[in-house]
Structures are given as structure tokens and as C-alpha cells.
């Protein structure tokens, strides 16, 4: 399969993380955080997701580069599927 899932997944979480972080920064000290015991849940979790997302993305990119530089050897059909 040519599409590495880590790339779109990393992109999605990076974006979600960014949105949450920006929103969290913009609403610092706002009343909406009374709900979550005064924790700025948007900011904190946004940063966590941002880190997670970008790590996934970079890992995916690295994996794809490695795959591109070392193309898999063609193996006869049947052999490849049995796994031994």
C-alpha cells in the first residue's frame, strides 16, 4: 500500500491541536474553564495533540522516504503471502 496512514493522521491531529491551542490561548482566564476546574483544557490538550500529530507526521514521512530509497525486491506471488 502506498499511502502511509501516519501522514494523514499526523496532519489531522496537528491541525486539531493547532486549533485547540490557538483557541485556548485566546480564551485564557475565561469563565468557560470553571467547568474543567480552572484547567485550560483547550490549551493543554491542544499542545499534547500538536506534539503527537507532528510526531506521527514526521515518522510517516521518514518511513516513506526509507521505502522510496530501498524499493522492495519483487517476490513471486504466493511466496510473499505465506510468510515462511
Amino acid at each position: 500500500m502506498n499511502l502511509d496512514l501516519r501522514i494523514p493522521m499526523g496532519m489531522m491531529f496537528t491541525l486539531v491541536g493547532l486549533i485547540l491551542t490557538v483557541y485556548g490561548l485566546a480564551t485564557r482566564g475565561s469563565d468557560i474553564y470553571l467547568k474543567s476546574m480552572g484547567i485550560n483544557a483547550n490549551l493543554d490538550w491542544g499542545i499534547v495533540l500538536l506534539i503527537f500529530g507532528s510526531m506521527m507526521f514526521l515518522l510517516g514521512r521518514a518511513g516513506q522516504k526509507r521505502a522510496a530509497s530501498a524499493p522492495p525486491k519483487p517476490v513471486a506471488e504466493g511466496e510473499i503471502r505465506r510468510g515462511h
Binding site: M1, N2, L3, L5, P8, M9, M11, M12, F13, L15, V16, I19, L20, Y23, G24, T27, I32, Y33, K35, S36, M37, I39, A41, N42, D44, W45, G46, L49, F52, I80, R81, R82, G83, H84
Partner: protein, 598 residues
């Protein structure tokens, strides 16, 4: 939330290019990495019943709910990885019913394929219905509808249509690969949405020790306390019923024979990876109780909302009184679990002693609404919706594969071109989704339809594992034996259900509709024992009938039966990379967890 939908469909489009043969579509080309399939393996099961249901049971029974994981799922997943996967993967069967044809005969497969196809469609319909109801209850789209000037009554239809279009979109385009990718995406999304909920909730009650102090009953935090006898623990089950019914028959039956989860393992590139899939899946599965059961406990342990008035002086010096009014449903509940309201009259439902019944299914949703501020709330709700959709998607891909390979190709239209079957698979997806929608609407008309369907599924599923066990490990088992055994197992389940009744239930849907011979302390106990009866009947009948029949010649059973299949060659792998090593590590971990939370 919109972002999520865009990505989900985007993956479908990106994968469309690769879908050239029916093998690509139905089996993901058998080329996916093990970790992706492993996460999809549990995510396919992480549907509505799992997230909402486990949270509900957590609130209702306490940490004993974790038996579903630590006694049920994990050992079964280890078993399927170590012992059963070589036969599924190695036999070149493309689906679980097809394995039954190779091992037994055509009629056993037809029976299994038909009942399975019907069940997947109904379960995805039930998911759809539950999701639409939840969206209505939580008022997710209310704002959108009011600003667009549409009547709120359309929300239900809108939710059903929306989920149908999204799931249809990505499966139609990308087949099983797309479903698996999206299941993994949903898996991470669910963690991203629920983990902060658990953290904030725990902080609110004051950590683990605070949670302990807030429990209605100290045994809530112990999974094994009082298990010696059915009357001394919240589940109402004794050790034997638990270990045999849940731990052996039900869990092994589900994780080892349900094509819904097996299909993800069969999408990997090699047999070792296929065996690793359930084992990899078991690692996060082990810690899922903290994600789905703990919120239920936290909901029960939290402070019940009641009307409050706060007085403070504002900037100009005037005294301001603010009153927060909570609805009657919330105030009559316990913790954050609201009382159950009658859907028609809106009145609170009371039990026999006049206390309000609790609507445990709302434990997790009301936690989300209570603790999450705007912003992350959107993420939490998306995670909830994602869990519904991942359950639906798994059912739909399992349906289109079984329909196309096991019913259409075998009985309706043989020997057509691969292109034809690929097109058929796509249209089966559309058909499956339409049927699911029909089920969802049927569920709105008949209140009991969901319970009834789930009951019927349990009759059909309970005996299945005996057939596979005998098929894989006993070479004498015959096709006639398997077929008659399966049917009599189901009959035994029906009879057992008809003749027993949980205490505090009226004869009818809960059992006892023939005559009441025995009372169980809880419906869970009844459920476990129904499974035990069905399994044993199937096991014995299959053996007896097989002994009278003529077994298949051994040459036809190579790769299908344990004693006639060469051991998987693992010599080239270092010991720490073998599936067996991973299995032992997992066993140690699960025993440790059981000891910690005994």
C-alpha cells in the same frame, strides 16, 4: 468535527486509486502493516455498545465490569493469535464462512454466511439508531438547525443520513483498507477525546483515593470481591459462570469467530503478522477499562448537581445573585448519571420501591458535557460519534465481503469476472447501508426491537465457538456433525432462555416465556448460562453425529486441522520477536492487572 469528516472522506479518495481488484477491495490486498491492523482489530469492536455500554456498566456495577476485558477479551485474543490465526490465514479462505466450507461443507457455510450477513446489517442499523438518538439527546446540532430555521424534529433524520453518507463514502471508495485506516483514526480520536475527560474527572474527585471515598459501595473498586457466590457481588454471577460463560464461551466465540474482527487480521501481509495482530491489539485493549469504565465510575462518584445560588458583588458594588437551576432529571440522578425519563411523557421512571431509575447509558455523554469547555467539547463529541461510525463501518465491510464471496459468488452468480465482483462489492456496500437505515427506522417504531435483536444474535452466536474448536482440533469432525450441532446449540439457547428468568423480571423478553424452571440472580448470569448451555450442546451433538458419519479424507484437511498442519516455521525469527513470546508477556500483564484490582 468538520475537519474530521473531511479527512475521513479524503482517505477514501486517496485510496480509490489502489482499488483495482476485488482482492484489494475486500482484503485490502493483504498488504497492511500489523500495527495498523492491530489497532483496527479493537477499533472495529469499539462501537456504540462498547463505549456507551462499558461506561454504563462501570457506573452500574463498578470495576467488576473489567472482567469483560481481563477475563474475557484478552485471553481470547491471545488464543486466536496463537492457535487459530494460522488456519484462517494459511487456508487461503477469504472469509470465516469460507473457512467453514473448506473444513466442513457447503451447508454449514451457507448457514453461517446467512446468519452473519443478517446480523451485521442489523447491528450497524442499531448503531445508527443509537447514534441519532444520542445526537438528539445531547442537542449537538440544535444550534445549527435553529440558525438554519429548520424544525428540530429533522435532527434524527439528518443524523442517520449523515452517518450513512460518510460511512458509505469511504467504504465505497476505498473498501476494507479505507475502513481499516478510518478505524485506526477513530481509535486515536477516541483516546484523544476521552483521556482528558478521565484526567479532569479524576482531578475533580481528588484522585484515586478521592474516588474511593465517593463510591456508593466499597466493592465498586474491586473486581473479584464477593465472586465466590452470586449473591455477594454486583454482577450476580459466581466464579464458574463468569469464567466459563464470559471468559470461555462468549469471549472466545466473539473474538475467534466473528469475521468483523478477524477480517482486519487477515488483511496483513504475512502469516506471522496476522498472528501478531490480535496480540498487538491486546495491549491497548488491556488498558481500555481506564478509558471507558473509569468515566462511568467517575460519573457516579461526582457530586450530584442541584440548584445553587451564589452571591457576589460586582464591579459597581451591587449585590448579584446567580441561581443555577438544574433539571429534575439531573437532580434525581446519582452523581452525574441522570435519572431515566420516559421518552413519551418526559416523566421520571421509578422502580418498584419508588426510587428513580438511573439512565446509565448517559453516564459518559453527561460527563463530556459537564467537564469539557467549548473547544475540547467538540473533540469529545467527535470522538463519541467516531466510535459509533467505526462500529458501523466494520459491520458494513464484513457484510459486503460475506455477501459477495459467500452468497453471491457461490450461489447466485458463479464464475463472473473479477471486475464484476468488485462492482458487486461496491453495490453490496450501498445495499448494506440502506438496510441498516431501514433497521434504524424500524427501531424507532418498535421500542423493544433492539433488545429482541440482540437476544436473537446471542442465540445464534453462543454455540459457534464449539464448531470452530472441534473443526480445528479434531480431524474426525464432519460436516453433518457441525451443521446439526450448530442448529441444536441454537435450539438449546432458545430453550434455556425460555425456561429461566432473572429475579425481578417479568416473563417475556427477559426469559421464562415457556415456563419458569430456574431463577437467576441477574440477567447477566442468565446470559452467561445460556451461552454455556448452547456451547455444551453443540459440542456434544457435533461429536456424537460426527462419530456416526464418515470423516473427510486427511489429504483434504491439511492446513485446516491442527494435527495435520505443519507447525508455522519461525526459525528465522529471534525468540523475542515470536508471537508466543508476546503472548506470554500479555498473560503476565493481565494476571497482574487482575491481582492489583482484586
Amino acid at each position: 468535527m468538520l475537519l474530521y469528516f473531511v479527512f475521513v472522506l479524503g482517505i477514501g479518495f486517496a485510496l480509490k486509486r489502489y482499488m483495482k481488484t476485488s482482492k484489494d477491495f475486500f482484503q485490502a490486498g493483504r498488504a497492511l502493516p500489523a500495527w495498523i491492523c492491530g489497532l483496527a482489530f479493537i477499533s472495529a469492536n469499539l462501537g456504540a455498545q462498547e463505549v456507551i455500554g462499558m461506561g454504563a456498566s462501570g457506573a452500574k456495577y463498578g470495576i467488576a465490569t473489567s472482567h469483560f476485558y481481563w477475563i474475557g477479551a484478552i485471553p481470547a485474543m491471545i488464543f486466536v493469535g496463537i492457535f487459530m490465526m494460522p488456519f484462517y490465514y494459511g487456508s487461503k479462505a477469504r472469509s470465516v464462512p469460507e473457512f467453514l466450507r473448506l473444513r466442513f461443507d457447503e451447508k454449514t457455510r451457507a448457514l453461517n454466511a446467512c446468519s452473519f450477513a443478517v446480523m451485521t446489517v442489523f447491528s450497524s442499523g442499531i448503531s445508527m439508531y443509537a447514534m441519532a438518538r444520542l445526537i438528539q439527546t445531547l442537542h449537538v446540532f440544535d444550534y445549527l438547525f435553529i440558525s438554519a430555521g429548520l424544525p428540530l424534529g429533522y435532527i434524527f433524520h439528518f443524523s442517520i443520513l449523515l452517518s450513512a453518507i460518510i460511512v458509505l463514502g469511504y467504504i465505497f471508495l476505498g473498501g476494507l483498507t479505507s475502513a481499516i485506516y478510518n478505524e485506526v483514526l477513530q481509535f486515536f480520536l477516541i483516546i484523544a477525546g476521552f483521556l482528558p475527560l478521565v484526567l479532569i474527572g479524576l482531578k475533580n474527585v481528588g484522585g484515586w483515593s478521592g474516588l474511593k471515598a465517593h463510591m456508593p459501595n466499597p466493592s465498586y473498586l474491586h473486581s473479584w470481591q464477593g465472586m465466590e457466590h452470586a449473591n455477594t457481588n454486583p454482577l450476580g454471577v459466581e466464579v464458574f459462570g463468569l469464567a466459563m460463560g464470559l471468559g470461555f464461551v462468549l469471549s472466545f466465540g466473539y473474538w475467534c469467530t466473528d469475521f468483523l474482527v478477524i477480517q482486519t487480521a487477515m488483511a496483513t501481509d504475512t502469516q506471522e503478522n496476522a498472528r501478531r495482530v490480535p496480540l498487538i491489539a491486546a495491549i491497548p485493549k488491556m488498558f481500555f477499562p481506564f478509558l471507558v469504565i473509569l468515566p462511568g465510575l467517575l460519573a457516579i462518584g461526582a457530586v450530584t448537581p442541584h440548584n445553587t445560588t451564589t452571591v457576589h458583588t460586582d464591579a459597581s458594588g451591587a449585590i448579584v445573585r446567580e441561581t443555577t437551576v438544574v433539571s429534575e432529571i439531573e437532580a434525581k440522578g446519582q452523581g452525574l448519571v441522570p435519572a431515566k425519563a420516559d421518552p413519551i411523557s418526559g416523566k421520571i421512571v421509578l422502580d418498584a420501591s419508588g426510587k428513580p431509575l438511573l439512565d446509565y447509558d448517559l453516564a459518559i455523554p453527561s460527563m463530556l458535557l459537564h467537564y469539557f469547555p467549548t473547544g475540547i467539547l467538540g473533540l469529545g463529541l467527535t470522538a463519541l460519534l467516531a466510535s459509533f461510525m467505526s462500529g458501523m463501518a466494520g459491520n458494513v465491510t464484513a457484510f459486503n465481503t460475506v455477501w459477495t464471496y459467500d452468497l453471491y459468488q457461490s450461489y447466485i452468480h458463479k464464475g463472473a469476472s473479477d471486475r464484476h465482483y468488485l462492482a458487486m462489492g461496491r453495490w453490496a456496500t450501498v445495499g448494506g447501508i440502506l438496510l441498516s437505515m431501514a433497521t434504524a427506522y424500524a427501531a424507532t417504531g418498535f421500542n423493544n426491537i433492539m433488545d429482541t435483536l440482540q437476544l436473537v444474535f446471542s442465540f445464534v452466536n453462543a454455540p459457534l465457538f464449539a464448531t470452530f474448536l472441534l473443526g480445528m482440533f479434531w480431524k474426525r469432525a464432519t460436516g453433518n456433525g457441525a451443521f446439526i450441532g450448530l442448529i441444536s446449540g441454537t435450539v438449546a439457547a432458545v430453550l434455556h432462555h425460555g425456561m429461566t428468568l432473572p429475579i425481578e423480571a417479568h416473563p417475556g423478553l427477559h426469559g421464562g416465556w415457556i415456563t419458569v424452571v430456574h431463577h437467576y440472580p441477574s440477567d447477566m448470569a442468565q446470559n452467561f448460562w445460556t451461552a454455556i448451555w448452547a456451547f455444551s450442546t453443540n459440542f456434544l451433538v457435533t461429536i456424537v453425529v460426527s462419530l456416526f458419519g464418515k470423516p473427510k479424507p486427511e489429504s483434504e484437511l491439511v492446513g485446516l486441522v491442527h494435527s495435520l498442519t505443519p507447525k508455522p516455521e519461525l526459525g528465522h525469527l529471534p525468540w523475542w520477536r515470536r508471537p508466543e513470546t508476546l503472548a506470554i508477556v500479555l498473560l503476565v500483564m493481565v494476571v497482574t492487572l487482575n491481582v492489583i484490582f482484586r
